[in-house]
């Protein structure tokens, strides 16, 4: 019964008026002047004491961004964003850079405690087996507050630190890889990110190393009218492996807030990166007021042969989500995966999917996308699968299922398939279903309340994807979405 109860609680939670992470941390902030200009870009760069090349890189992006237009091809509607009415940098006053735990302000520690994010290494160590430990990089508005377990990770050669720090400590790596997957003019929001990105995580796994613990980054937007522009870069050298999870929340505010992140993943020969997202940004209230605009670019480059990148996402928050975690399958025999659960309720709008670009020989990709739409929400799956003319033996299987709850929501599936190689085998399956009256009645006649019955059916619907989440995050996933009870009865 436990999981079903949790599911019901969770379904209530995603009732947009019951968002439980909506509190505000009252803390003195250091803000950049409002608005966007070259001066602001310079201001951010100077705040972070960046080298000249990085400032130039930002300015280049800013100048290109000025010539670009916001994309209008997605199935989401929102009034034009006034980019001059936003703050592009916000950091707790006490927090010029990442510190050790005892230097971090108590209000900040309290915030993460309330969010259930473990930052005290000692507490985490007590009673948890080493293989189940999770290292956390906690990002508050524009800066990283603290990164745990760094020394322990360093023992195996793993670098896990805020990207603003990596710029100084490992400039050669940052310079080599930053922007190498998502080029400067890739899209409107990625160019904006490149100009004003504030912080994010940097992960480097050396050759042959299996990262000894799960890594995670926890993003929190707190300040009003502030955009969060995180930049994450993960590199797995030959034969390396890492599993990484990101979580996101924001306070309940009437104004919309912008989150425009860029994530780049690189795998060399035989390496694997497993990237999981639990996105729970504030979705807005029941009338559709407020909430986060989540416009992110996530892309992985399977540069080496036999390498693998796997994206798993659980998307429940944000007023608008515009997000297509993708894989460039460059190395021969490389593998790309995308597993997604997207739940929309209230007036949420979601346009999400993936791109699998097959360039190398015998590359394979698999897409499983589950969309659940309720209330007045609109949910769109948009996916591209393409094979280059040299990508002989490319294979893709796409399964895309939508479940509708109620009569006022919509689900759409827009697949793009481009095969330039006759040997490519691409398969696409899509279903849209509604929870039927027959199913509901059947469950109720066996003793389930209507709510429990819905939860049970949703549980079943998302099961394949839930199973892809890292074990260590099973609890979090359970709280977040409907979970099958099957594991508990073996």
């Amino acid at each position: 019964m436990a999981a079903v109860q949790e599911t019901i609680d969770r379904v209530k939670e995603i009732d947009v008026d019951q968002y439980k992470y909506g509190f505000v941390t009252d803390i003195e902030m250091d803000l950049a002047p409002k608005g966007l200009s070259e001066d602001i870009v310079r201001f951010i760069s100077a705040k972070k004491n960046e080298p000249e090349w990085l400032l130039e890189w930002r300015l280049d992006a800013y100048r290109r961004w000025l010539t670009m237009e916001a994309p209008d091809w997605s199935r989401v509607k929102y009034p034009p964003i006034d980019f001059q009415d936003l703050y592009y940098y916000a950091a707790p006053k006490s927090q010029d850079g990442p510190k050790s735990l005892d230097e971090v302000e108590p209000e900040l520690l309290e915030t993460y405690k309330k969010l259930g994010i473990p930052l005290q290494e000692q507490e985490i160590l007590a009673g948890i087996a080493p293989e189940n430990r999770i290292a956390v990089d906690a990002i508050f508005d524009s800066v990283s507050v603290v990164t745990t377990f760094r020394e322990e990770l360093a023992k195996s050669g793993v670098i896990f630190c805020p990207i603003s720090e990596a710029v100084h400590s490992h400039p050669e790596l940052v310079k080599k890889y930053l922007g190498s997957v998502v080029p400067v003019s890739d899209n409107y929001y990625s160019a904006l990110n490149q100009a004003v990105f504030s912080d994010g995580s940097f992960v480097y796994i050396p050759e042959g190393v299996r990262c000894p613990m799960e890594l995670s980054t926890y993003f929190r937007i707190n300040e009003q009218n502030t955009g969060q522009f995180e930049r994450t870069l993960i590199i797995a050298e030959k034969g390396a492996y890492v599993s990484y999870l990101e979580g996101c929340t924001a306070p309940q505010r009437d104004e919309n807030q912008l989150h425009a992140a860029v994530v780049e993943l690189i795998t060399h020969d035989d390496a694997e990166i497993k990237y999981s997202t639990v996105q729970n940004w504030y979705p807005g209230n029941s009338e559709g007021k407020g909430g986060i605009y989540n416009f992110v670019t996530k892309r992985g480059d399977c540069r080496g042969k036999n390498s693998k990148i796997s994206w798993t996402q659980v998307e429940t928050g944000s007023a608008i989500t515009w997000k297509y975690p993708s894989c460039i399958l460059r190395g021969d025999n490389s593998v790309g995966e995308f597993y997604s659960i997207a739940i929309s309720n209230g007036y949420q709008q979601l346009d999400s999917g993936t791109k699998m670009i097959h360039l190398g020989k015998n590359t394979t990709s698999r897409i499983v996308a589950k969309g659940i739409a309720a209330g007045n929400s609109e949910s769109t799956y948009r996916g591209l699968v393409s094979a280059h003319r040299k990508a002989t033996g490319a294979r893709n299987h796409t399964q895309c299922d939508s479940l509708l709850i109620g009569n006022n929501c919509g689900a759409h599936t827009i697949p793009y398939v481009e095969a330039n190689n006759a040997s490519a085998v691409f398969e696409h399956e899509a279903t849209t279903s509604k929870i039927s009256e027959d199913q509901l009645f059947y469950c109720r006649s066996r003793g389930f309340t209507e709510e429990e019955a819905v939860a049970l059916i949703v549980n079943g619907f998302v099961k394949d994807v839930i199973q892809k989440l890292p074990m260590e995050f099973a609890v979090e996933a359970q709280k977040l979405i409907a979970i099958s009870l099957e594991g508990s009865v073996g």
């Binding site: 199913q439 009645f441 109720r444 006649s445 309340t449 099961k463 099957e486 009865v489």
Partner: protein, 251 residues
């Protein structure tokens, strides 16, 4: 007090009259069979008893253990001990059969204020009952009714009934689609559930099920009414002569 009393029940669906004054009493410890030609309202009656809300009740009442059954939600009826083995059990993708069973049982127990079954206790009980009904481990692990054959679905309905231990067992054409062997297994499963506290209402077209599950009473339904009642010899008579005698009388 009778376990179930249906008094002068009239019901419509989308303005079409289906039930036309049904009177029927089911006693605890007894097995009642309802027979009748297609479209006489037998399945409608079973759905109304289980709480399906597609029907408009225009007249009459249903008392279950003296309580107004029509006033209860389907899940309340289930917790109170009403069970309908359906003619067409629905599929629930992704939800393992065993999970469904255990969660349903505990939902009912919780609603009655009883303690939930622990997993080992539940598994022990399930193992014994599943074996009797020839429900394999594989069937328990598969998603509920997804890809089940007709016979598997029906055996599974009876397994649910055995696990949930209802007071009133309603079976809607449980015998349809069953071969002789499956019919025997299902009948044995049903017979094992017969006890002095439990009443059964079996809806069927054919006498052959009643060879295996001996009814105490047989009711003939036609045009939304019970038109004849008798003991099990009535079923044999129907088998021999058809419904003509009763349908002619009623018309």
């Amino acid at each position: 007090m009778a376990l179930l009393e249906i008094r002068n029940l009239h019901a419509n669906i989308d303005g079409t009259k289906i039930l036309n004054g049904v009177n029927l009493t089911v006693e605890a410890g007894k097995v009642h069979a309802i027979m009748g030609p297609n479209g006489s309202g037998k399945s409608t009656l079973s759905y109304i008893l289980a709480g399906r809300d597609d029907y408009e009740i225009t007249e009459g009442e249903i008392l279950f253990k003296g309580q107004d059954l029509l006033d209860m939600e389907p899940e309340e009826r289930a917790a109170a001990g009403v069970f309908l083995a359906m003619q067409y059990p629905v599929e629930i993708p992704g939800v393992a059969n065993i999970t469904f069973l255990r969660t349903a049982l505990n939902a009912q127990r919780k609603a009655r204020g009883e303690e939930e079954f622990s997993t080992p206790d539940f598994m022990k009980r399930l193992k014994i009952l599943a074996q009797k009904l020839n429900v394999t481990q594989d069937m328990l692990k598969r998603p509920l009714n997804v890809g089940f054959s007709g016979g598997e679905k029906k055996r599974n309905e009876i397994l649910q009934m055995a696990i949930l231990e209802p007071v009133l067992c309603i079976m809607d054409e449980t015998d349809s689609g069953l071969d002789i062997d499956a019919l025997k297994i299902v009948s044995e499963g049903v017979n094992a559930l017969r006890n002095p506290e439990r009443g059964m209402l079996i809806i069927t077209h054919y006498q052959r099920l009643l060879d295996h599950i001996k009814p105490d009473m047989v009711h003939v339904m036609y045009k939304g009414k019970i038109v004849a009642e008798g003991d099990k010899t009535l079923a044999l008579e129907l088998e021999k002569n058809g419904y003509a005698a009763f349908t002619a009388d009623a018309a």
